[in-house]
Symmetry: C2
Subunit: 355 residues, 2 copies
């Protein structure tokens, strides 16, 4: 169905009918000039927002709309978790060009609702409008935390241990794989067109690249998970990180943010960078240095945090958390210690859309 | 200066240096994964968001960037006021194409800061990223109110008086004027190009259309004001509206929202629609029916609200507030009573970007 058949209010009505709210702090969701929230007494409210643009942040030739919706929500929840807080509500704004149909936007919403359901988050409002070219998605997430639980980027202290959850570089490798297959596919289409072979064109239309054995890196790129489970595990273990942020632009870049804002330096060990087997295999196939991918790949949405040295045992006992180095005095700078023991100054070479 | 010289973090740093926070409820603004807010005890939090796309919501051939920044903020504050609440914080997300320079974005921010300063609002975060074509602006505003002060769209009751602040249709007339001048200017440039006259081209480059006597309608289009003053006046007069919303898409459309959500009908009088002289003059010049413009023009950002009949004297005593009709039972439908006494069913013909 064409979106203009429904118009803005018709589309909002259709999308809103599947949306219910469940949080005690959600007084009123979609349907008025504003959403109304009732923060619990003594709690802090956390607010974060992201703007995703087609062609810059996602490529719809290989990103399914349902996955895109899921990811667009998860990257915002990830920022709430990175404050050691719990997400509660989101608003969703979409600008939609004429190439999209009502069903496309519904599929996008299915993914968004799935991500929200996973973490008990309510969709409480937004804006639905037109765009001249492509899709724009702007999500704002609201979370809550007790004041004493909140973790900033600025609290790291010399001798603190540097920890990351999960593994690094997989989402970047997934992206490289998708980009490579896109190039190959486009070349095949071009060739079929030149040869004028109808059979070849028909076959290409049905063709699916073989991604077997690479499902993990694809899922990391297409359907990342915000690490609320790590926030819960830290809480249960009684560990209060001294600093924390999520890894969206790449480990190097994020670690340098923590060091700058904490006025410290750091040392991390190349041999300690957590890697998945598929990440390493894909890097080798593409002739890329896997450590560089892990340091700068971006879109991992893992948590990077620091804990006092005294909590070494507690943090080492946690599932899926890895100690990769330590915080130093600021004058030591930020460096990676390579496998051969050499020190290499860290550089923020990660994702930077405006460079 | 080219934006890529600075990159995302450099640009954010440069924009953030002029931003300070002043609200008691702002614990931490720009610089971490989230902003941290401390809602006052017993208060509700209001959240609203808008996504503005170049070419759909604004045309940079005649909208100065500073005005655009001002307006982008004001339209969000207007939604907070429409709940009978006070705005406190905003987040600002921008997607910027390569045609913009650092100074452009700084100019946009000057306008945004001016709007924030007017109402004591803090810029507490956002996202700054790239776009393939044009500028996208997504602003989320956070406000606060005592629970008992909040006014929804759904509380109107039969016999309530329907009121609007200010006057209607002026912003729409301003837009028509700007669009007309743009067409004329483009024709002149085309003609000069065809004739190959360098002098003519030079003259056109310096040319400014004569807008004298039309400043008001232009200002209403380019630099609208959210009516926080009306919210304050209502409070001071002890008037608690039964329903309220702001007029962004046009009076007809908004009044029908109130009636639908309140399960009522309404009657409004054509002769009572508040009009400015410049609006009427421009409508006549363009052969447009001025009442139609007032009903459907949109972008007025005035407040539309209902009060119990018993408050007729109190509301009539307010500056710049006009009683334009009354609420009826739902089965009476929504109608305009024209100057000749005829009843005309209201239609939502206002701004609808997806139609």
């Amino acid at each position: 169905m064409e979106i203009q058949e429904l118009g803005e209010f018709g589309l909002i009505e259709r999308l809103a009918k599947d949306i219910t709210t469940r949080n005690a702090s959600t007084v009123k969701g979609i349907g008025d000039d504003c959403a109304i929230l009732a923060p619990a007494e003594g709690m802090r409210t956390l607010v974060t927002t992201d703007l995703l643009m087609e062609g810059v942040h996602f490529d719809l030739t290989y990103v399914p709309l349902q996955h895109l919706g899921y990811k667009a929500v998860m990257v915002n929840l990830s920022d709430i978790f990175a404050m050691n807080a719990m997400p509660r509500q989101i608003t969703v704004s979409l600008a939609i060009s004429s190439k999209f149909q009502v069903e496309d936007i519904e599929t996008l919403y299915v993914g968004m609702r799935m991500a929200c359901e996973k973490w008990g988050v309510d969709i409480v409002g937004g804006d639905t409008t037109a765009s001249l070219t492509g899709l724009a998605i702007s999500i704002t997430a609201v979370g809550e935390a007790r004041p004493e639980d909140i973790v900033l980027r600025s609290g790291a202290k010399p001798t603190d241990l540097i920890c990351v959850s999960g593994n690094l570089g997989a989402a970047y490798m997934g992206l490289q794989l998708l980009e490579r297959e896109k190039v190959i596919y486009n070349e095949q289409v071009e060739e079929a067109r030149r040869s004028g072979s109808k059979e070849q064109m028909e076959a290409l239309r049905e063709a699916q690249p073989d991604f077997s054995g690479r499902e993990y890196i694809l899922e990391r790129q297409l359907k990342p998970e915000a690490r609320g489970d790590i926030v819960a595990a830290l809480q249960q273990a009684g560990i209060h990180p001294t600093s924390m942020m999520d890894i969206s632009d790449g480990l190097s870049s994020e670690l340098m943010h923590i060091c700058k804002q904490s006025q410290t330096g750091c040392r991390i060990y190349e041999e300690r960078l957590p890697l998945d087997y598929q990440t390493a295999a894909m890097a080798e196939e593409l002739n890329l240095n896997v450590s560089t991918c892990a340091l700068n790949g971006g879109e991992d949405y893992e948590l990077l945090f620091t804990v006092p040295l005294a909590q070494n045992d507690a943090v080492s006992a946690l599932d899926d958390v890895h100690v990769i180095g330590y915080i130093t005095e600021q004058d030591k700078g930020c460096a990676l210690i390579s496998r051969d023991g050499g020190e290499h100054v860290l550089k923020a070479q990660g994702w930077n859309p405006l460079k």
